[in-house]
């Protein structure tokens, strides 16, 4: 019993430190990497929508975006990471850390659009993919417009 309690306490302490230990620099690097990876996937889908359509490529790319969108990236916006350097100086606006509900709405729309894209990608319907792709791009843009420095 006592051991179990100790273990539980230890586990809590560890997870707590695990959170606290996301260093600002890493958090910024990781989010920049995640966005850059989505940039790769977006370019890949666009090339397919505009050129010869390869269903498998699009599925792969759409799944990457979906996975990142649902990864809980909010965890990378640790307090204090409104300034600092990851791969490059962060471009996030401080408002992202204070606009709670509004950011949440944008992030939710983005998740939904990413899920939708992955869903239509699986059908291989190029027209529907193009549509869902445009909608997803719109959600990327709405976040960049409001929460990323120009």
């Amino acid at each position: 019993m006592k051991n179990k309690l100790m273990l539980a306490l230890l586990a809590t302490a560890l997870t707590a430190t695990a959170h606290a230990q996301v260093k600002t620099e890493d958090a910024i690097k990781w989010r920049q990497s995640a966005y850059a990876t989505m940039g790769w996937s977006m370019a890949r889908i666009k090339a397919n929508v505009e050129g010869t359509y390869n269903k498998d490529e699009v599925i792969k790319a759409a799944n990457v975006i979906q996975a990142i969108a649902n990864s809980g990236m909010g965890a990378l916006y640790v307090p204090g990471s409104d300034k600092g350097k990851g791969w490059v100086d962060t471009r996030v606006k401080p408002e992202l850390f204070t606009d709670g509900a509004k950011v949440g709405k944008i992030a939710g729309d983005f998740n939904q659009a990413a899920n939708e894209l992955a869903k239509v990608a699986a059908t291989g319907d190029a027209g529907a993919v193009k549509n869902a792709f445009g909608k997803l791009g719109g959600t990327c843009k709405s976040c960049h417009d409001d929460y990323r420095n120009k």
Binding site: F133, G134, K141
Partner: protein, 230 residues
């Protein structure tokens, strides 16, 4: 009304230029702000604007009387005379001329920065590859800031037209549609077919240059077998 009272002020190419530009700017602001798949149209309309601006620059030299920059260039002397109420003339008055040059200037900035801009999502200007990514990002931020200047200028432009219509009882819109103004004065001359063809040819060249079609083809993607299948 007697047709002898009509004086040609704006030749047809100038009027077409004006209204096409107005449509294009509306289209660009809307597609730029909305984004999504419309950003592709943003790029296409932007190329049209490349043609329009170069057309106007050439027409400002080769066009008919009141389209020429020399006719309405807002020298300090002309502006002072206008403000003293001593300016007599047809076409752009010296303050309107300032607005013309400012609009063309900001549009040119908008065009050049747009051509190398990127949205980090799924679009890059056709000349993006000519500059590095860092410069492209910088140009993109100018693009996004300068458009606010453009919007302010457009609002001033519209406000001035309203002011003329309601306060000075001078409708500036009709001449820009029909070409002529009532009352006497020197009708516009010049800007013949040859001048038009030269201006159109240079405008077409500008669209071609802006489109990046002349850039060396990117190396063909390596055949699939050269990248690992995972």
């Amino acid at each position: 009304m007697n047709s002898n009272n009509r004086t040609l002020v704006w030749d047809l190419p100038t009027r077409l230029f004006h209204w096409l530009l107005a449509l294009a700017v509306i289209g660009l602001v809307v597609t730029g702000k909305v984004g999504g798949n419309l950003i592709d149209w943003h790029g296409r309309i932007g190329l049209v604007v490349a043609g329009l601006i170069v057309f106007r620059l050439v027409w400002g030299v080769l066009g008919s009387t009141y389209a020429r920059f020399a006719t309405f260039f807002p020298t300090p002397g002309r502006i002072a005379a206008y403000l003293r109420g001593e300016w007599r003339g047809l076409g752009h008055n010296p303050l309107g001329a300032l607005s013309v040059f400012a609009l063309i200037g900001v549009l040119t900035v908008q065009l050049l920065t747009g051509l190398v801009a990127n949205d980090d999502i799924a679009f890059a200007g056709p000349l993006h590859d000519l500059v590095g990514r860092d410069f492209s990002n910088l140009a993109t931020s100018w693009h996004r800031l300068a458009v606010n200047v453009l919007i302010v200028l457009v609002v001033l432009h519209l406000a001035a037209i309203m002011f003329y219509a309601h306060v000075k009882k001078d409708n500036l819109v009709k001449p820009m549609v029909r070409g002529w103004k009532e009352g006497g004065g020197e009708p516009a001359r010049g800007g013949g077919l040859v001048a038009l063809l030269v201006a159109l040819a240079l405008a077409a060249a500008a669209v071609y240059a802006a489109s990046g079609a002349w850039l060396p083809e990117p190396p063909p993607p390596p055949p699939a077998v050269t990248t690992p299948a995972w």
